[in-house]
Symmetry: C2
Subunit: 181 residues, 2 copies
């Protein structure tokens, strides 16, 4: 951020009175601009013993496999965001079960929130952001071709939990922050 | 948003190619500015049969009671955000248990995420954003003096769950969006 989105004049980084963090503050109108983590909402769509993955047609990680997920938008609930992302990327018709993984990524200011979901039919097909959409059973998951650590973590937890037949919430972190001195 | 935070020139609302939503786009440098929901992270701090509430010293809802909670910052995990907010508002020393309520508020573009937590001692005292901090048992909760619907919902669920002795995740919505025509 270089300019104030309210008045268009330059901003500088200062700590507001009563605050303890550097913020972008307008040198002209004094508006304080806050920047906060974004939510990535997604689904783990299941059909019998298989899960649905999408091969990414966009950067980052073009050509690698992911669960359908993307940035939650304003004016929607978490479930709506997860369902919409799955529809956009894979044209799925699914029913959402429980919130399954919540993964903080402090080094990139994201929180992943993935819902377990049940595919209602097999009429899925790639959306514009996917090269390919397919079902994989555990033995065929392309573990070395997954796009993100969050996806790997969610799939590993899912196949472990499936052995036990119970799918509790997992709250985890993937933290690549540099150690503070 | 009226001006581009990258170049300071005016923005207008248009739908980018390949998108289906109006975005703020710079008329000069074409930067697309996305706006996404914010996470409010908080704690439900418990001591024996009591819960800790804070009387707000700031707007909105000055003078009403709340669980310690606030906007998650960049560079932190959800648990760190919840613990920090509780420390800032009530100088608590606590241990976080499980993620307990996740509440989407699509009409104000927020997702509340409240963790159950155990107070480790009684050395809490009001931070600068609180007029007062106190423990309440179920019969003394100031139900008509609570600051937010999310707080009321979380406390109601907690006292119901306590009867059963189990505190599973609750994923809920408080949706005051106007119906779309």
């Amino acid at each position: 951020m270089k300019f104030c989105s309210q008045c268009g004049k330059p901003v500088s980084q200062r700590t507001p009175e009563g605050d303890n963090r550097l913020r972008h503050i307008c040198d002209h109108c004094e508006t304080i601009h806050y920047h906060n983590p974004k939510i990535v909402a997604g689904c783990l769509p299941v059909w019998e013993d298989k899960v649905l993955l999408c091969k990414r047609a966009i950067e980052p990680r073009y050509g690698l496999w992911t669960l359908p997920a993307g940035f939650m938008e304003n004016d929607e609930t978490l479930e709506q965001a997860a369902e919409r992302e799955s529809r956009e990327e894979a044209n799925t018709n699914l029913s959402i079960h429980n919130l399954y993984t919540v993964i903080s990524l402090p080094h990139i200011n994201q929180v992943y929130m993935v819902f377990r979901a049940q595919l209602n039919d097999l009429n899925f097909f790639p959306g514009i952001e996917s090269l390919e959409v397919a079902l994989f059973d555990e033995s065929n998951i392309p573990w070395d071709q997954l796009a993100f650590g969050t996806i790997q973590m969610t799939l590993k937890l899912f196949f472990e939990d499936r052995q036990r037949g119970s799918y509790p919430l997992h709250t985890c972190n993937i933290d690549h922050r540099k150690p503070t001195v």
